[in-house]
């Protein structure tokens, strides 16, 4: 192999882009060349936006959500029900739940799921912070009534749910998980067999 046909600055950007999730080497090349041809102000605005975002945000000390202060806006909101805690894998899952506007409790962001193959154990997730939060609330006389574990229905998400359920055990009155099955508004006749099967398995009584 001879020298690279591209200047090293371009090579470096391609290399950096190809480390982004879902971006392969070919896509990284296309993105880099797009940025080469794009007006310089737009390219600089993109670089600036990345720098500003990283300079002005940090994880909330309480819940781990992206914050521009020590505590995020949800943890600062006195109107929120502190007795209700929803555990999510990522801040993006929190965003999805917030969009509903229906949830009035607080959150706890784990920053991932248990995954031995990825080298992620309880110590790599914000689990100790969760247990400490639950214990501190109890000690303060305002115990958390319910922890909703809203991990994804992947094997890793389910195992994280089982692990937390066992660890939280007696320290919380109720540990619950999200319902799974047919998407709301979906027609039975258009649902695939697996979805219908799982919904049947998790059927519940009608009150």
């Amino acid at each position: 192999m001879g020298a690279s046909p591209l200047p090293s600055s371009v090579e470096r950007l391609i290399e950096a882009l190809s480390r982004l999730p879902g971006v392969g080497p070919r896509t990284a090349e296309r993105l880099a060349f797009h940025l080469l041809r794009t007006p310089i102000v737009d390219a600089k605005a993109l670089a600036g936006a990345i720098t500003t975002m990283r300079d002005t945000t940090r994880p909330c000390v309480e819940c781990g959500h992206v914050a521009d202060q020590e505590r995020c806006w949800i943890c600062r909101d006195e109107g929120r029900d502190a007795g209700l805690l929803c555990v999510v894998e990522e801040a993006l899952d929190l965003v999805a739940i917030e969009r509903t506007g229906a949830y009035r409790g607080r959150y706890h962001v784990l920053n991932g799921t248990l995954s031995p193959m990825a080298g992620i154990g309880p110590g790599q997730l914000r689990m100790r912070e969760l247990f400490e939060r639950v214990a501190a609330a109890t000690a303060a006389g305002t115990p958390i009534r319910e922890v909703i574990i809203a991990t994804n229905p992947s094997p890793e998400g389910d195992v994280t749910l089982l692990y937390l359920q066992e660890r939280l055990g007696d320290s919380v009155a109720a540990v619950t998980s999200m319902a799974r099955g047919l998407p709301f508004g979906a027609d039975l006749q258009y649902a695939d067999a697996v979805t219908i099967l799982r919904s049947l398995e998790e059927r519940r009584g009608v009150e």
């Binding site: 193959m117 094997p155 890793e156 195992v159 540990v175 697996v194 799982r198």
Partner: protein
């Protein structure tokens, strides 16, 4: 349990013998391959009846059959991980199988089943261009398969028999593929944990044991789903297999296929019972697996044994008996899938005729006359019976500098 999860045990009845909904479309109209093995970009149009895909070894014939198997089952018979099919240097592979009614040319009556396989990352399945679960694709295509990888079915490694059972079970029982995928993933994760524990000190090992428990629970729950599905499948295969074997080899004696495992499950054991036995098996082997650093029990270790006239075939089978069994199993697979879908499956024969002797070849030719579509690979049309070649549409597959392509 205070938490309901998708791993909770099911109280549903096993699947019905026949689904009420109309069956999947009868034939494949077109296969499109993009960056899969030797195919850079190619489209192969197919008609009904026998479709003869012929060409030199390495031309890319088998990849066409592999694409149909991936669309129908979510896995490949030639690759342990789907990403292995991605052409060297490509970001992703894509296969599209267009299925529709045999005689209808109306594009609205067709479904396109697409599978996008990135070299890194998650495989995506699309139905008519919309991302859907793999199960949504599988409902629309059923395949019965004869591949050289399975010719050692009787005397070969247990993995060959498990692969066959899993392929048929996936198409027969909705939910089976999902259980299998979840089980395999959890197994890999748990084995990594066992390996980490092997290299860790005492204190770390205790923390890891705590972390192990939910993975074990996951393996028990999904493992019980798999074993239940396999037992039910073998029970359903019993009659069609015996019937097909009587037809293929009337003088050999009655055939039986039995599930074999360390746990020795009762063939009609319900899922709860299987889960209890698996939990016990994990407890029994906890110490040994700790030394060995990998999971020692579960459906990934199970097997099946064939008996003819009461004798274990693995010990006594002649080459002829093995061929009879392969053919009988293929016929039973066709019968079972026809019963499930209300329509016959598409038959995929990879180099099948060179594996069979003339009398069994004739039986196979006779059988595929009654099927809507059969994809047959061979190195040359001369390898096949003249009456089959006369009835077949011949498509030559060649490998050029640009990758594989089809020539009519």
């Amino acid at each position: 349990m205070g938490v309901t999860t998708s791993t909770s045990s099911c109280r549903c009845a096993p699947p019905p013998e026949r689904t009420a909904t109309p069956g999947p479309p009868a034939v494949i109209h077109q296969i499109q391959l993009h960056n899969i093995r030797s195919w850079t970009h190619g489209t192969v149009a197919l008609g009904s009846g026998p479709q003869l895909l012929w060409g030199a070894n390495g031309a890319g014939k088998t990849t066409l059959l592999e694409a149909c198997i991936i669309a129908a089952t979510g896995r490949s018979h030639r690759a342990s991980a789907l990403r292995e099919v991605v052409a060297r240097g490509a970001d992703a592979a894509r296969l599209t199988v267009t299925v529709g009614d045999e005689e209808v040319a109306d594009p609205l009556a067709q479904s396109t089943l697409a599978v996008e396989i990135p070299a890194h990352g998650r495989t995506q399945t699309l139905l008519n261009g919309t991302p859907r679960r793999p199960a949504a694709l599988m409902e629309r295509i059923k395949v019965a398969v004869f591949v050289p990888e399975e010719t050692g079915l009787v005397v070969g490694a247990p993995a060959v028999r498990r692969a066959l059972i899993d392929r048929v079970a996936t198409q027969w029982h909705p939910g089976y593929e999902q259980s299998l995928t979840r089980y395999e993933r959890a197994l890999k994760q748990r084995n990594r944990l066992l390996k980490d524990a092997l290299e860790a000190d005492g204190a770390t090992r205790r923390t890891l044991a705590l972390e192990m428990r939910p993975w074990t629970e996951m393996l028990v729950a999904t493992g019980a789903e798999i074993v239940e599905g396999r037992l039910a499948l073998l029970m359903a295969l019993d009659a069609p297999l015996a019937e097909a074997h009587r037809e293929v080899a009337p003088s050999e004696g009655t055939i039986a296929m039995r599930y074999t495992s360390r746990e020795n499950y009762d063939p009609s054991a319900p899922r709860e019972k299987i889960a209890t036995m698996l939990t016990q098996a994990f407890a029994d082997t906890a110490e040994t697996e700790g030394y060995q650093g990998h999971t020692l029990v579960g459906p990934h270790r199970d097997d099946a044994t064939f008996f003819v006239g009461g004798n274990n075939l693995a010990a006594t089978a002649s080459r002829g008996q093995q061929r009879s069994l392969l053919l009988a199993l293929l016929f039973a697979e066709i019968a079972l899938l026809t019963d499930r879908a209300g329509r016959p499956p598409i038959l995929l024969l990879d180099d099948a005729f060179s594996e069979l002797d003339p009398s069994r070849r004739d039986r196979l030719v006779e059988r595929l006359k009654h099927l809507p579509q059969t994809l047959i690979t061979a190195t040359s049309p001369d390898d096949l019976a003249p009456n089959l070649v006369a009835a077949a549409t011949a498509i030559e597959i060649i490998n050029t500098d640009e990758g594989s392509e089809a020539k009519r």
